[in-house]
């Protein structure tokens, strides 16, 4: 835990990227976590922020785990199932470390901003210097701690860089309210650093978006 922001002091053991997301969520709000995995973020949000937490998860094991933890989670697919939610059903729709695994990231993002008043997206930055080094020096697709799968069996089919994502946000007519980037040691990069700096040294990024 290397973050000094007092809002992020939500107990030991929580992943820093999840804490960054939690920091962007207003207490007591309605939250949908798309691709909620084992429910770690939902649990954190429910306990630390008192939110009404719901989730969608593709894997059966994940859903069963979540239900066992008392979370309201349905088995579903970010690409196909967001359309079934009415407009403005949630204050926040979160996509944590999942956008790179969706088939149509742009549509998913648009749906998130329709279903939720705000969207929070966290993703691994494919523009990080280690990724660039691997491609440049080894000529191979990078396999790192954050991206452990080989190219042929990775669920991550739509990698992007921080700059790419920033462009997509502009393209769909959304507004970035807040953005954060973490380096490889989980430290927050300076907020006043330029985008190119984040794009090289940020290993992960978190964006809080709203409609224009």
């Amino acid at each position: 835990m290397t973050i000094s922001d007092p809002h992020l002091s939500m107990g030991p053991g929580a992943r820093v990227d999840l804490l960054m997301i939690a920091d962007m969520v207003e207490p007591g709000s309605r939250v949908l976590d798309v691709g909620c995995g084992d429910g770690a973020l939902l649990k954190l949000l429910a306990e630390a922020k008192g939110v009404d937490a719901r989730g969608i998860e593709l894997s059966r094991d994940g859903v069963a785990n979540c239900v066992t933890r008392g979370l309201a989670v349905i088995q579903g697919d970010a690409d196909t199932d967001l359309v079934d939610y009415p407009d403005d059903s949630f204050d926040y729709v979160i996509l944590s470390q999942t956008i790179q695994a969706t088939r149509n990231p742009r549509r998913v993002l648009e749906q998130m901003l329709r279903v939720g008043r705000r969207a929070i997206v966290s993703f691994p930055n494919f523009g990080h210097w280690r990724v660039r080094r691997d491609l440049l020096m080894k000529g191979r697709m990078p396999v790192t701690e954050n991206l452990p799968d080989a190219w042929y069996d990775t669920p991550n089919i739509h990698f992007c860089t921080i700059n790419d994502f920033h462009e997509l946000v502009k393209e769909i007519g959304a507004v970035t309210e807040r953005a954060r980037a973490l380096n490889a040691s989980g430290q927050l990069l300076r907020l006043d650093a330029p985008w190119w700096f984040w794009n090289v040294f940020g290993e992960q990024a978190v964006f809080l978006l709203k409609r224009k």
Partner: protein, 425 residues
């Protein structure tokens, strides 16, 4: 043989304990109901169990009619039920279990007709997921059934003969209204949970819609918010098989001391196939022959699967009333929760505070996952707190009655979390 069966049954009703007469005892019985422990199979499917069941009963007099969706009414009304565990002081720990088409109220005790364990004993009992040491579990025979709640096999007080087809057609909502009368009678305002699979799941949905303020948690399992055309079609095959049997006698078979055994058995055989899956049949029977080395070139039950189905058919007629089968299949056919709410399913749950746990099974083609998904979409649209999981199983629709580990883990987690939220944990 039937007459012997009836005599045995009549002798048996003398042993019925704890029968609750209306007006005499409005209290709540706790502990295990007095079910005579007879291993003997007794032919009572359309005999004494219909009127004097081995269960607790409550009788609502003629001035408390059950008014039905059709506009008709049933009065007086009898409800047969079983309870397990005890109601807490706050009356907040009651769980209503809704049974499926051919189920009954004996969910967690030996069945007095078949001598078999309760149909959901794996789920319900001391220390089980629905823990009878913590919850007060109620299960009643549905209206239209044949195990002691008013149904076509019950005696019509107006004629002194069985109702047969004089009983008005009942719907799932009518069943639920009757259950609500029982729950009121037991002095329970709000149920901690309502749980059921298949037709039981339809009742769960109806509870969550019609009595949405009275249901804290709902577990509709392997079910749908409406009966599909294919399912109606299968039911019609079953009904036609029964009605084509000359022994059905226009429904008046009981007065003639006979019953449409062949018709009901065929109905069950056809329905039983829909409860299984092709992989399950393949695994269990394949093309294996029954006690023979080669085909007999006849229409004997050469294949194991034929022999199995015949057994399923013949054992079913010993425990179930043919007219009841007509009524209950009809109730399922008529079920369409969205149609009752202007065609929009979400409206059936508008403003609900109930937490839902929806479960489907991969190989269930009678109530496929798509049905559960449609339900989940509607619940989401209504802003309901809903969990949904599709369990991998090759056991078909019947999987909901079996101890599938993933299924039970999900239910355990959901019940524990709900109990915590209700202040019961």
């Amino acid at each position: 043989m039937l007459a012997t069966g009836l005599r045995k049954g009549l002798a048996k009703q003398k042993c019925v304990l704890y029968i609750e007469r209306f007006g005499l005892n409005a209290g709540i019985s706790t502990g295990f109901p007095g079910v005579p422990r007879s291993k003997k199979k007794v032919f009572i499917a359309h005999g004494p169990q219909a009127d004097e069941p081995d269960s607790l009963i409550v009788r609502f007099p003629a001035d408390q009619p059950l008014v039905l969706d059709s506009g008709a009414a049933i009065a007086p009304l009898q409800i047969a039920y079983q309870t397990y565990g005890s109601l807490n002081e706050a009356r907040s720990n009651a769980v209503l279990v809704c049974h499926a088409l051919t189920g009954d109220q004996h969910v967690a005790n030996e069945n007095p007709v078949t001598g078999k364990p309760g149909w959901w004993e794996t789920l319900i009992g001391p220390g089980r997921i629905i823990d009878t040491d913590r919850y007060f579990v109620i299960c009643c025979n549905v209206v239209g059934g044949c195990l002691g709640s008013t149904g076509p096999a019950s005696l019509n007080p107006a004629t002194g003969k069985p109702y047969a087809l004089d009983l008005p057609v009942v719907t799932i909502r009518d069943m639920v209204r009757a259950q609500a009368m029982l729950i009121d009678h037991l002095g329970i305002d709000s149920l901690f949970a309502v749980v059921g699979g298949s037709m039981g799941g339809m009742q769960v949905l109806e509870w969550a819609s019609t009595y949405r303020d009275r249901v804290f948690a709902a577990m509709p399992i392997a079910t749908a918010a409406k009966h599909s055309a294919q399912n109606i079609a299968f039911h019609e095959v079953g009904r036609q098989a029964i009605m084509a049997d000359p022994a059905w006698a226009g429904g008046r078979y009981r007065e003639q001391a006979q019953r449409p055994e062949k018709g009901l058995a065929v109905a069950r055989m056809a329905a039983h196939i829909t409860y299984l899956s092709e992989p399950a049949l393949q695994r269990k029977f394949g093309r294996k022959l029954q006690d023979r080395a080669a085909p007999t070139f006849s229409f004997d039950a050469d294949f194991q699967v034929e022999s199995y189905l015949r057994y399923q058919g013949s054992s079913f007629v010993e425990r179930f009333d043919a007219n009841s089968y007509l009524y209950l299949t009809r109730a399922m056919d008529y079920f369409d929760l969205a149609a009752d709410h202007g065609g929009i399913l979400a409206k059936a749950f508008a403003g609900t505070k109930t937490r839902f746990c929806v479960v489907s099974f991969t190989s269930d083609w009678l109530f496929p996952t798509a049905d559960s998904r449609a339900l989940v979409h509607a619940l989401n649209a209504a802003g309901a707190l809903v969990s949904f999981v599709e369990i991998v199983s090759d056991k078909g629709h019947d999987a909901f009655l079996l101890e599938e580990p993933e299924f039970f883990a999900t239910l355990r987690g959901f019940v524990m979390a709900a109990a915590k939220a209700r202040g019961l944990a």
